[in-house]
Symmetry: C2
Subunit: 479 residues, 2 copies
């Protein structure tokens, strides 16, 4: 990379132009490149390594909760997509259609999967016979395609990578428990691994997944006050199972429909990480998913013993973290800026004087403060510092969310907050679609979720129509 | 699964009808299911777990040899696919075309990637500037689509999973070294991990990859004597780089074209494992990729202490292998047959008498012999037995190949071997395409490879035309 030195000054200021700042980071931190296919991105090694770390952590959690991975075809015949009415209405407008195989026109169009409920249902119908076959807990890692008009790297692209869990259960209760279990797997991952506080809650009918009975969501708030749907978990009840005739013979010798869930997160998470933690120096990565957790920068590396000491330190630290030495011929100052831009959580500087005094300088990416530390027990020190980075990122993001959470009891109040501020607006809602549409129309906000954790009744009236209201909704603008 | 007991007798005999035997195994061992998309398969949990193990081993080797993972779009615009002439001629007849996005006709057709050389070249052109940027060593794990007319699970399907490495180098020598390095990574994986002996060699011009200067291959011989191309590694020279104008500024301050390679293996490997090691009882899995390496079957499990002892043994063994206890309510005999069908490499039987004598019965899947072993040091014993399974599988397959390798010096001889036997036919070749076509026409064999390891000159004349010949070719029928 020495030949294409990227100047840190070239990043737009975050508060000046958040959108441009975001675009600068995804390009300059080498996360993505654009391709000649509009709306499809190339995920470069540094960006893909983040995704691999996300996959490893989540895949382990999925397997711990009894799920197995499978792979379904990427194509869905048009007739199969159409089997569940609401589902096809939700997805048909935004799918890519394969109409030719080689030089022959296909007798039936195939859509490139935008999601795979229909494929899983077709398979489950083949393999589920009795209560002994339940539950079925499958997941797949794959790419999906949705033909979006406006696209942005990671946040909204025509093709993206994700995982989709699809499960079948004997009872409605089991399906509901699974839906919430996986929502909490997501929530814990966001909060504990990514340092991103999330609201856990339910989507309104308008915002729920096409064909679902209930959609639950984890919603994160970005630095600029816009919300990002981080992951969703859907309870389908027996709707698809009736459409696909998926029944099992229960212990009482009667046929019953299965109850179904699905849940997914995508490479969108990477966009969320950038917009939650990043700053004017560039990316800030939570250690759990950082490709490099610790970068060792030798100082006066031409002096005898410096590179050797750096390498010895790398070997020691490699048992506790993902660590590299930057022994390129760039200056230390240049290296500092480079690794700050790439969001490496911890930097260790090591020069002749440090070596002589058995110490090093450690700088955390989240606060950039210099700490002078002994090399004795450095493994434990680094583990602690990495954990502190995650906690500190979480607390900063939580403070941002607290500062950007408003409450409105009247429509005028909500509109004025929506116009003047950026963040969540807590307000009561009667449950009517017309009020939801009116808030979109007049305040340009959508319902983000009905949170599980916040049940305080701000008022007993809908913020929009004044009718009796029991539901507290978080409203906001979203990515 | 208790409700859909699969009878072992239902597997067709391998020697009676090899094709049907294969189909029985992929279905009855729960590796795949068919989908409503012709030629696309569903890879079920047990089959997918094999692929995950293949991925883990190879991905580690790729990273150890300096490669990084990326993700490219799944679509290739028609104009991009056409940039390299031989390449498009090779692939255009068998690609799936996306022509509609939502309800709109696309201005340019997009093909679903059959392979990604063109996408990588487009990206490399963007990011390679100088000799300092080289080599670039990228790989991706993804699915690809080739619109095949005749399909078989794992062996030939319209969509399959694979990895494709794509690298750029400063010199022709570096590219050639990479091509061979990765071929040997594949070769070692087949031989040491999968117990599958392979020929390493070069493809003839007729059989090489569309657009490549040279294609190297690892060829395995199946139990029935047909060959399977296990993995290929291509040296493109600077052909694509000239078509895409990928140049770098060298140390001598002149612009030079890069030299390119690509290499890949796919889920086809699973078909190869089945057809190399499987037998009339079902699948036989090499331990390195077996989802379950050791199955513990409790005998008289209703008796006090049996299930507890089985669980204690599982815990002990879990530090050295992937191990499970089958405590279902099926009979031990039924369980034996079930796990034999699923190819579990080692079975341990544990009943009250074994427990009383601190011993167990161990049966290896490859030879089905009963061994009575002490539980003292059972971890080491199991590790040794698993290693012996791999060695034994390798030796059996090697013996099969040796028994099925023939030599021909005349066309008549070659034709009569091809008609009467099934296996490799070693024969000299003049290098002319017409002779290769004639052998296909008259003996229905294709050139499998010009092996690196076998350079003995059988004769100095081409087996087909009698002209002078220097090249020894292995001919055969192939999957």
């Amino acid at each position: 990379m020495a030949n294409e030195k990227k100047m840190v000054e070239a990043i737009t200021s975050r508060d000046e132009d958040f959108a441009q700042w975001y675009t600068d980071i995804v390009k300059k931190a080498d996360l993505i490149d654009y391709s000649s296919v509009k709306g499809c991105m190339i995920i470069r090694p540094y960006g893909y390594a983040i995704w691999e770390n996300i996959q490893k952590i989540l895949d382990t959690r999925f397997k711990e909760t009894g799920h197995e991975n499978v792979y379904m075809p990427m194509f869905i015949p048009e007739s199969l997509l159409q089997k569940e009415k609401e589902h096809v209405e939700g997805f048909a407008p935004e799918v890519a259609w394969v109409t030719m195989g080689g030089s022959e026109r296909l007798s039936e169009r195939l859509c490139v999967r935008p999601t795979s409920e229909t494929l899983f249902c077709e398979h489950y119908k083949n393999i589920i016979r009795s209560y002994r076959d339940l539950p079925k807990l499958y997941n797949q890692w794959c790419s999906v395609v949705r033909w979006e008009k406006t696209t942005r790297p990671f946040l909204r692209s025509r093709e993206f990578l994700w995982q989709e869990g699809h499960t079948m259960h004997a009872t409605a209760e089991d399906a509901e428990a699974e839906t919430l279990r996986m929502l909490n797997v997501y929530g814990d991952f966001f909060e504990k691994d990514l340092g991103m506080p999330v609201l856990r809650g339910q989507k309104t009918d308008k915002e729920k997944f096409a064909g679902a009975k209930a959609t639950y969501t984890v919603e994160a708030l970005m630095h600029d006050g816009k919300a990002l749907q981080g992951g969703t978990s859907h309870n389908f009840g027996d709707g698809f199972c009736r459409a696909f005739d998926i029944q099992y013979l229960d212990k009482d010798n009667t046929l019953k429909y299965c109850h179904q869930t699905s849940w997914g997160v995508s490479t969108r998470i990477i966009g969320g990480i950038i917009m939650t933690h990043g700053d004017d120096r560039g990316l800030v990565l939570p250690p759990a998913v950082a490709p490099i957790q610790v970068i060792i920068v030798p100082v006066q590396q031409h002096k005898e013993g410096v590179l050797e000491a750096a390498e010895a330190l790398r070997v020691r630290l490699s048992s506790v973290c993902r660590v590299k030495v930057d022994d390129s011929d760039n200056s230390p100052g240049w290296k500092f800026a480079e690794h700050e831009m790439r969001g490496v959580p911890v930097r260790i500087e090591l020069g002749p004087r440090d070596i002589a005094s058995n110490s090093c300088v450690l700088v955390r990416r989240d606060n950039l403060e210099k700490q002078f530390l002994s090399l004795d027990g450095i493994e434990e020190t680094v583990k602690e510092q990495l954990a502190l980075v995650t906690t500190s990122l979480y607390e900063k993001a939580l403070a941002n969310r607290a500062a950007r959470t408003y409450t409105a009891t009247t429509l005028d109040e909500l509109i004025s907050i929506a116009n003047e501020k950026s963040g969540y607006i807590r307000a009561m809602w009667c449950g009517k679609l017309e009020c939801e549409l009116k808030l979109k129309e007049e305040a340009d906000v959508s319902s983000r979720c009905i949170p599980f954790g916040d049940t305080e009744e701000i008022s007993d009236k809908c913020v929009c129509c004044g009718r009796p209201a029991k539901k507290l909704v978080y409203w906001g603008k979203a990515y």
